[in-house]
Symmetry: C3
Subunit: 204 residues, 3 copies
């Protein structure tokens, strides 16, 4: 129950971030819907394709599509109010990232992949919806340019494999890793921490 609530909140937050980007690009209703959709389910879809877990999850469970559809409709109606929710949205989004990371790791473990690949799958689940969103909107993906985002997923994912070695219930390892992802992102945003930009001094 708790798990599902968070999953839906994460989906909602990702869908809304899609709506906001699509509207800035002045797409039509269908465009907004698709962008919201790929933002929310793009990462999980890529993950499922790579491990061969098809038909992909949102084709078999209508909860995701229904949630996204309702979110988009409400998002369009209440677009002017959305900005007042910015802080809550950021929180949902961050919780969503934490959870999506661990969902991806779990799918990797089920497919007998190594820890490194599980972490990669987790990071992908959490962050590639946004990458596809930005590609469709003709932007260089924002997560390649600023903010600790994927990094939080990677470190949090790695922490899961450390926590699992401790003499604890596995559920605690799971929960602790989610908290690491969320905590890192919150701290990074609060203190304006980001990865260094690496650039070449001269074109050649």
């Amino acid at each position: 129950m708790f798990y599902q609530t968070i999953d839906i909140l994460g989906t909602v937050a990702f869908a809304i971030s899609g709506v906001l980007v699509a509207m800035e690009k002045r797409l039509d209703l269908f465009g907004v819907l698709i962008i919201a959709f790929v933002t929310a389910i793009g990462g999980g879809t890529l993950r499922d394709l790579l491990i061969g877990n098809t038909p992909v999850i949102w084709m078999r469970d209508l909860t995701y599509v229904t949630t996204i559809f309702i979110t988009v409709i409400l998002g369009i109606i209440f677009v002017n109010q959305l900005k007042y929710l910015r802080r809550s949205l950021f929180l949902f989004d961050t919780i969503g990232i934490g959870l999506y990371t661990l969902i991806g790791i779990e799918k990797g473990l089920q497919a007998d992949l190594s820890p490194v690949m599980c972490i990669a799958l987790g990071t992908m689940t959490a962050s590639f919806g946004g990458v596809i969103r930005d590609m469709l909107c003709n932007e260089i993906p924002v997560i390649f340019r600023k903010e600790i985002y994927a990094t939080a997923c990677i470190i949090g994912g790695a922490s899961y494999f450390l926590f699992r070695e401790l003499p604890l219930n596995e559920n605690y390892a799971y929960l602790a890793a989610i908290i690491v992802v969320i905590g890192l992102r919150l701290v990074a945003v609060k203190f304006g921490i980001s990865l260094p930009n690496i650039y070449r001094e001269e074109r050649n």
Copy 2:
């Protein structure tokens, strides 16, 4: 026979639309070929990947590749004549969309998916070739911005599930739905109907 003829005409129309866009971008011969190719088979490929139907169809049936190849060669040779065919091309394209929508729905039914997902697959089959084409050409996909296109697929797809409930031969439901897709698109283009652009009043 009729079915196959239409399928090939649809492939030809989609391939030509790819040639025209690729030429405007001044791509080289290989670029034109690839863009024509993804426009014609991109939607079906994404559909087959999502439902796990691999190797994808055009890898097993050479008709598609051969058709696209010949189309591109002829398209390049007769590029200056293509504009006089614009009206016929639009008709092929529209017929192709109608047929592709229903092909996608059929694949969804074969994979035991719900009606909503079948409609989504149909729309994807008909429209995502164009989306990938525009992404490769560094444009925001045209179907996100104007014209009733995907909407015609969605309404036509939904109509199939309504028609199926009527006491008719299933083939009539199939044909009627194709006609709905084609009719909607023709009416929309004729009367300049498009989805409303939804935009935010201010950047924030």
Copy 3:
């Protein structure tokens, strides 16, 4: 052993080409890593997805990920020295293309595909990492615009099926085809040969 050494050199060369492009776009560390990664494994991933060969290879064999990771770290540290290696890099890259083309063909044969499709898979393996790299960096893919690149893969791939008909050991056919790909690319670059740009004389 020889085979694996070349495979790793190819991966290194592709990863470095990703690092160089990502740095020109001033991406952050994570962005550079991802771009290097997709450049090196994007083509093989698309191939494996299309033929349904999942989980994709780099999820099961950590050699690729490890190689790319070390390459990126070294690439970032020695970025100012990279330009002096430009000639060697071009050679690795070209060898990589030759090898990747034949790897793709082999995978196609294993999946019982027709020669045309095997050549398409080979070309895809060799060239689509660069296509995805350019899409992520918001550029029209460079291989659509200039230089004999995919063309070398296609002709080299076709030559494999010709050589195979000769009364030779199959390994020779394999090796000869690799040499054809490499030779064509070297000759094309040396003499500035490229495919003709096909463009429409007027917008309409």
